[in-house]
Amino acid sequence: MIKSYKLRRGLANTFIYILLAVLGIIWVAPLAYLVIQSFSADPGAVPQTLLPETYGFDNYVKLLTETESLNFPRWYLNTFVIACFSCVISTISVLMVSYAFSRLRFKSRKKFINIGMILGMFPGFMTMIAIYYLLKAMQILDLKSIFGIPTFDGPILALIICYSSGAGLGFQISKGFFDTIPRALDEAATIDGATRNQIFWKIILPMSKPIVVYTVLTAFIGPWTDFILAKIIAGDKVDNYTVAIGLQKMLDNDHLNKWFKRFLSGSVLVAVPVTILFLKMQSYYVEGVTAGGVKG
């Protein structure tokens, strides 16, 4: 009896292993295709066979050196600059807002929280058009070389503003985290004469490393993966593209036949760092989403 049970379980497990392997292959195959074809050295820019016949770094070299019409290194730099700035600004504002909502008690705190939630329900890019006109009216989009930095043009600044300005609305997840820190700590510190400012910096922040890491990573990854906003803001100024719209540009009718393999290698260059960062923060991600979901 026990033997047959073991056998049955063994059979079931084998079946599951096979199924998982098949599914795993299906899931990873397109990405494997992306990576393998990016190293293809076959003639022609569009792969004619499933696997390339010769391998080499041609596509990468071309992508990084032939920059007259589509300047990928420049886009990469743009995105990196945007990501760094908006990462710093959004992290600070998210932590400030969520700390205030979680630990401080003040008049109309509940109202602010509700307003924040309602604002989050509007389809995000409904406002993007208006933001575009606002930035245009403020003449930010036409600026050149801000602070004397040659690649730091208006649209880059505009994107930094856009990505970091709304960040304060994403307070739920870190508020959920701050809520779990016992209030007794604050009270003890207050009795010892600490101001709320000191409590924030010296007690709460050091205890909140996971949520700080999570916020930093999401804010940093955001600009690398965002598509719509960058498309609206950058318009037709090709030099100010981020990698997302740049890579899409490589697939339009004018470029597809020459650029497809370079698109693949560009995608690899973008995807590798983002993937590594994401895998690092996935455990935080789950905590964040489930906690945020339950907290509403």
């Binding site: 497990n13 599951i16 199924l19 998982l20 599914l23 795993g24 899931w27 990873v28 397109p30 990405l31 295709y33 992306l34 792969p47 499933l50 205030a100 401080l104 604002l119 329900m121 509007f122 389809p123 890019f125 409904m126 406002t127 058009i129 208006a130 606002l134 009216a137 970091s164 300005s165 709304g166 960040a167 609305l169 809520d179 820190i181 016992p182 209030r183 101001t195 709320r196 400012n197 924030f200 993966t225 598509f227 498309k231 890579l247 899409q248 698109f263 693949l264 995608s267 973008v270 995807a271 993937t275 994401f278 996935q282 991600y285 789950v286 989403v289 489930t290 979901g293 339950v294 509403g296």
Partner: protein, 500 residues
Amino acid sequence: MRYIDYMQLNPFQRFGYNFANFFKKLPSNLARFFIMVGKAIVGFFVSIGKGFANYGKRFVKGDIFVKLSYLIFGVSNMVRGQIIKGLLFLIGEAAYICFMLFFGWTYISKFSTLGTVETYEELSADGFNYVPIYGDNSMLILLYSVLVIVISIIFFAVYIAQTKSAYKVYEQKKNGEHVLTFREEIATFFDEKFHVTLMTIPCLLIGCFTILPLIFMILIAFTNYDNAHQPPANLFHWVGLSNFGELVNITKGARKATTFINLAEWTVIWAIFATFSNYILGMIVALMINKKGIKLKALWRTLFVVVIAVPQFVSLLLMSQMLQENGAINQLLSVITGHNVGYKFLDSWLSARITVIIVNIWIGIPYTILITSGILMNIPADLYESATIDGAGPVKSFMKITLPYMIFVTTPYLITSFIGNINNFNVIYLLTNGGPTTEDYYNAGHTDILVTWLFKLTMGESHDYNLAAAIGILVFIVCATLSLITFNLTKSAKDEEAFS
């Protein structure tokens, strides 16, 4: 049903009971909701009334300097030693007056008409070309009017705070209390008023780049800012609710209404299929990974998670190319079948829609795996054991134990992802760009959902901002209602201090 009866139900019946109960209680809950809203509105006006009463009371009770500060800011503060604070108030007042005189008034005065001076063309000095002489720019008038209104509201709040401060410092002086110096006042912003310090900058940013554009777009929905009324060449005007009328008016040949109804229908179908296919299939995979005796759990999970780690636009753009007639998928099919396959996945509307849903499964399942893995491990194992003893197979215990339990625990996540799919711009836009296009629809294709149509209406050739804004408002209403239901279902907002 008493509690003891409820406890005797199996998870599935419990879910059914809760589900039925939810709809049974819906009318009374809705009624309560509207009463709550009514009370909130009444409360709002009462507090405004009280505010004005206090405003008047302070004026009557205060001395001459307090009365003077109602006109000239900061006088009362300056007289009683708070020089810097008073000066700051005064500078604020002067700045606002200058702003209104030199900038605000020109726009806000035209707010009700959105401009009357038409642009016309005039023969240029050389007598050969016509050059436009620009009149009013309705778009800028609307944008700046909103800006002026927002700034005025902030100014009004500062004004009220200023009169309070003027009266407070008068009372303190009269009662011989200590009046805070500027340095002490600053110190309070790091302690009692620390929330003000923390919230000001984020609130300003949100106000400028979220609320202001939002008000602007909501107002646009009530104008005729479409492709025939493009500033600066043309003016646009207020038209009331006619944009919403145009969207639902299904008379013959009304292309916009047809498009709207069809796309709304497809949006709902898409959201349902996308949400539930991902949810159920993802849960099955997660169950397999988490099954007892399966090794290399981390490896399996990572295999799937890699797909979401890669930026969505990369995987979707790649997919859109792989699905082409000579793309990788057809090449693969050719290798397998041995003869040339060139299936056009995205060319007919039905096959395009099915393809979109299937590709979305590829994108979406890993999310479900990530989220549900943890919860699945929390289902008590003895439930399964007793089910096995009672003779239930894996399918039966999935249907009777896992699914009801999971649906019960993850309803909020389910609704959130349903909303996410209604707004799922990336998958549709990057994969099919809404295609295949059709002449029956106004600027849209068969796989377009409402939000991608909104995007095309604004960024495409047509620039029908008014329609786009109206669609945005309708989508918001749907999403907000769903979110409210979620919020009421979970109710955990009330327990936010449970841990502290």
